[in-house]
């Protein structure tokens, strides 16, 4: 089992434990523990995933054609990503090696709608309160209502961008939630001329707002480039899909892995045999596994996925406005922003603009109105589907038995890929901002800012009133709780 600096304290006995549980504005149930010595020096920092998700068991035994609908219930935030990854895997099971043009373009439209609305949610709702109001601003105002009071136009744009993305999903998936649009081998509906016209009506405004969001994030970096380029930053290897010509492609491609300096570890690898490149390590203190590149081993092979990887490691973005923004991002401060943890936000807005441009292009393609929806072929026993979900690479792998039931399922979600990288990020922040200082809520929020940059989805799909208060406990060396802070529970 590998151990990195600050992962495990050399002498944990007698240290003071600080628990941030669960993380606010991070999906599901995660917690951060810090072990501090009597002089408030950080000796250990860990991000724990404390809820075990029995995804595979949920899927096993179900008829394969139900799977693209059922997997949407794994995640309340990105159900479309699971819907499409499962469909891609099951395309192979039904022998559909090539989708019809209409089916592929409808799925792409659905996916870009999901990227648009998810990135808008993350930037405008989850992260911009930190970025615009300050990491340690008054906690009661550090949310979108506080943001709306200070920046009403920005808050409104965020809501309307999300709404547009949801409308794209509704028209392509059939419903706002529990959509059924994508099926093994294709789709079950195309767009009507009326639906296309409705979406065309607002797309240029959506592109304009996406460009405004990019101007905003650039202003933030320019105003305090030292903080933005250094906060929680570290170098890492990367993993993403790229198109055959090296372009960014969020729906389909081959696997590309790079060293921290961009050198290729492998490129254009068929994701149908992903297990030859990626292994998973278990650590006793976390339910979530730690994937690594097999060739490099578990100590050196960890990597980062998601918007920052995709924008910096593709050769180009195949829409003009987003590609211009990519080049500017890569050049900012001699490339420091492109390596920064907070660079996730800038990269995410570049992808949001790309999604808007891609939607615009698709909406002018008459294949969206076609009637040839489903392809088929020789039945296979196994299928792997990989997609670049909003948070990063998402892998669905199924084996289907002779009774058409799923006999085995393996899912690697984006947050699992980033598990190691998020742990590194919080250790960097803990060292720089918390070490040797008396802890305050504002300082602890710095840890959460670093985690939120990755936009993790730790365990989704349930949200009940009263669930998930944020609790911070200070525990002394004897294990006694000496102080507790609970953020707004009801």
């Amino acid at each position: 089992m590998s151990t990195l600096p600050l992962e495990t304290a050399a002498h944990p006995e007698g240290l003071r434990r600080v628990v941030i549980e669960p993380l606010s504005r991070v999906e599901g149930h995660g917690k951060v523990t810090l072990l501090m010595d009597e002089d408030d020096h950080v000796q250990q920092a860990r991000l724990h995933i404390v809820e075990f998700r029995a995804f595979e068991k949920f899927i096993q035994g179900r008829p394969y054609w139900e799977v693209p609908v059922m997997v949407q219930r794994l995640c309340g935030i990105c159900p479309v990503s699971h819907h499409l990854a499962a469909s891609k895997a099951l395309d192979q099971v039904v022998g559909a090696t090539q989708l019809t043009p209409t089916a592929e373009k409808i799925r792409r439209l659905m996916h870009y709608g999901q990227i648009l609305q998810s990135h808008a949610l993350h930037f405008f709702y989850l992260s911009s309160p930190d970025l615009l109001l300050g990491f340690d601003s008054e906690i009661a105002k550090r949310n979108i209502v506080g943001l709306a009071a200070e920046y009403p136009d920005i808050a409104k744009q965020g809501v309307l961008l999300r709404k547009y993305g949801q409308e794209v999903i509704r028209h392509t998936a059939g419903k706002r939630i529990h959509g059924t649009g994508s099926v093994p081998g294709g789709v079950n509906k195309s767009l009507t001329a009326g639906e296309r016209a409705e979406l065309q009506k607002d797309i240029y405004q959506v592109i304009a707002w996406s460009r405004d969001a990019l101007r905003l994030v650039k202003r933030l970096f320019e105003a305090d480039f030292e903080t933005y380029c250094s906060f929680g930053s570290f170098e890492s290897r990367t993993l993403s899909l790229v198109r055959a010509d090296g372009a960014m492609d969020l729906y389909h491609g081959g696997l590309r892995a790079t060293q921290a300096d961009g050198r290729r570890i492998f490129d254009h690898v068929d994701y149908g045999r992903y297990w030859e490149q990626i292994s998973e390590e278990v650590k006793a203190w976390s339910y979530m596994k730690f994937p690594y590149l097999t060739a490099l081993g578990h100590e050196d092979g960890w990597y980062r996925v998601g918007p920052l990887t995709r924008v910096t490691r593709c050769d180009f973005i195949p829409t003009p406005l987003a590609d211009r923004e990519r080049r500017e991002f890569l050049a900012f401060e001699d490339g420091r922003a492109a390596k920064a943890t907070l660079g996730f936000h800038w990269a995410r807005m570049i992808e949001m603009l790309h999604a808007a441009e891609a939607i615009k292009d698709l909406l002018h393609d008459d294949d969206l109105l076609g009637k040839d929806l489903v392809a088929g072929g020789e039945r296979q026993a196994r299928g792997v589907g990989v997609i670049e979900a909003p948070r990063g690479t998402l892998i669905h792998h199924y084996r289907v038995d002779e009774n058409d039931q799923v006999a085995r399922a393996n899912l690697i979600v984006s947050t699992t890929h980033n598990n190691h990288a998020m742990n590194i990020a919080i250790r960097e922040v803990a060292k720089k901002y918390l070490d040797g200082r008396r802890l305050t809520e504002g300082l602890l929020n710095h840890i959460e800012v670093a985690v939120r940059a990755f936009d993790p989805c730790l365990s989704c799909a349930t949200h009940a009133i009263g669930k998930m208060p944020l609790e911070v406990q200070l525990v002394d060396a004897a294990g006694a709780v000496v102080d507790t802070l609970v953020r707004g529970s009801r």
Binding site: L23, I77, R162
Partner: protein, 144 residues
């Protein structure tokens, strides 16, 4: 009026919201629109435009049993949640976006016990849904 039901049908008692939404849709009460969501999000504020009243229906943890039906007011109540937001925060977002008071709002919160992936409703939740349904149906009928 609008009924905004929240919950995941495959997460044990989180299915309370969708279950009540399904009953309400089957009843097809005139003047009542039902929307089901996994989680409330900021754009749900736009669903409130032009409504006289809204009822949020959700499962609860540690909330009064079998259920509570209470008035809701706009409040910047974001901090205990994650990607999702509370009914009060949806109302607050509406008011910030539109500069006008949100429609009259109620929360029907039915207490749940277990929220495991793949589980159905618990026996306790079934009894509470049955009790809450009568109140919800009466409340909606009064709105006609």
């Amino acid at each position: 009026m609008l009924v905004l039901a929240v919950g995941n049908p495959s997460r044990g008692d989180d299915a309370i919201g969708p279950e009540l939404a399904a009953r309400l849709e089957a009843a097809a009460l005139p003047g009542v629109e039902v929307i089901s969501e996994f989680q409330l999000q900021v754009e749900n504020a736009l669903d409130l435009v032009g409504r006289e009243r809204v009822i949020f229906v959700d499962a609860g943890v540690g909330t009064p049993a079998p259920y509570e039906l209470r008035r809701a007011a706009a409040a910047p109540d974001f901090l205990h949640t994650s990607h999702a937001i509370s009914p009060e925060a949806v109302l607050a977002t509406y008011e910030r976006l539109h500069g006008a008071p949100a429609p009259e709002a109620w929360v029907l919160c039915v207490r749940g016990e277990s929220f495991e992936l793949g589980d159905g409703l618990s026996d306790a939740a079934r009894r509470r849904v049955a009790a809450a349904w009568e109140d919800l149906a009466r409340h909606c009928a009064r709105m006609e």
